[in-house]
Symmetry: C2
Subunit: 212 residues, 2 copies
């Protein structure tokens, strides 16, 4: 098993947390996004999406972080990353997708670079970033705070799929200086997650390819 990763990629960060929770230690290959190594012909042949993460396993190349995490959960069921009941599974997947579909892609590095190429100054790009963070985290806070199934973590008292998507988004929001006081439930869950070794070891600054 080989994980193609970049220390600062939120989507890679999700998969690193899942691997740690499962106790899996794949080989690592580093793809430097700021140096555009994802566009190298060798990597593009491996993953035509030219994004990270990608997981090589059993002769296949898996892409898309949530698909990879569900694969890891199906093939290494303990500890489970999804609850058992279909309604609860839909809740957890929905929370994860709220971040993975409706916040992260709009604030991804390639989108921010595209805005710059359209003539926007860094300040306008930062405003864009913070706007979509605020829209998305406000919705996520409302969903978590208003549901008795929220526990120490996003769903009950065990970390799972929604948590491993939340934590990288909170990390990135802090990098961009987004105010987070309006999201007490997210802050509480993020802190509970980051106290766990599986989450801490997956953080960008703790990766072999980390740069300051």
């Amino acid at each position: 098993m080989k994980l193609h990763t970049y220390f600062r990629s939120s989507a890679s960060y999700r998969v690193r947390i899942a691997l740690n929770l499962k106790g899996l230690t794949p080989d690592l290959a580093f793809v430097h996004l700021r140096r555009n190594e994802q566009r190298d012909p060798g990597y593009a042949a491996l993953n035509p999406e030219r994004l990270v993460p990608a997981l090589e396993v059993d002769g296949q190349v898996l892409t898309q972080s949530l698909a990879i995490v569900e694969y890891l959960d199906e093939t290494h069921p303990a500890p489970p990353l999804l609850p058992i009941g279909p309604l609860d599974r839909a809740r957890v997947r929905g929370l994860a997708q709220l971040v993975a579909c409706d916040i992260h892609p709009i604030d991804n590095l390639r989108v921010l670079n595209h805005l710059k190429s359209m003539g926007h100054a860094q300040g306008e790009v930062d405003d864009w970033y913070r706007h979509w963070i605020a829209v998305g985290l406000t919705a996520l806070e409302a969903r978590l705070a208003g549901d008795p199934r929220t526990g120490r973590f996003c769903h009950g008292d065990r970390p799972g799929l929604a948590d491993l998507v939340l934590v990288p988004q909170m990390y990135n929001a802090r990098r961009f200086g987004c105010p987070l006081d309006a999201y007490p439930t997210l802050l509480r869950i993020d802190a509970a997650c980051c106290a766990l070794p599986a989450f801490a070891a997956a953080a960008p600054e703790n990766q072999p390819d980390a740069e300051s």
Copy 2:
């Protein structure tokens, strides 16, 4: 079961296809996105994300189209929307997420409206739309054309999760006048899908809330 939907919403379109494939006929509630009905207090209380679709079922409100589709697949297993093996399931989920995470959110109505609010003219907004379509569909074409598991549909000869995400994206790409000749595999699969009653009945123009 009640589906909150808008005829032109790609994410609603996905869920409508899944419901049709499963032979399910929920009650329908229409949320007119261009009139901003998703921001009405009543709907925002139901779905703090202020997006469609949302599926009310067993006293819960499910959001995020892919989470809803997986719920439908878990609770109504026939016909299956995912293959059996974990590697194949990861492939199909990855194809679906390539569109649902890396194309659609960046080209969503609210993002296009935000670009306009930043001063961009319609032509620049259209360029934005077509840029992300081209990036995403090029990757999807490469993944599908280069894999022997691609069949009449995205995965084998039965329509599933990846197909019901592909078709609404192709529909929208046509609306925006995106050239599609470079994607022969996508065109072939899209045509095979649209020939099926479950897909045809889910098309925007065939919805009760359709407008010209």
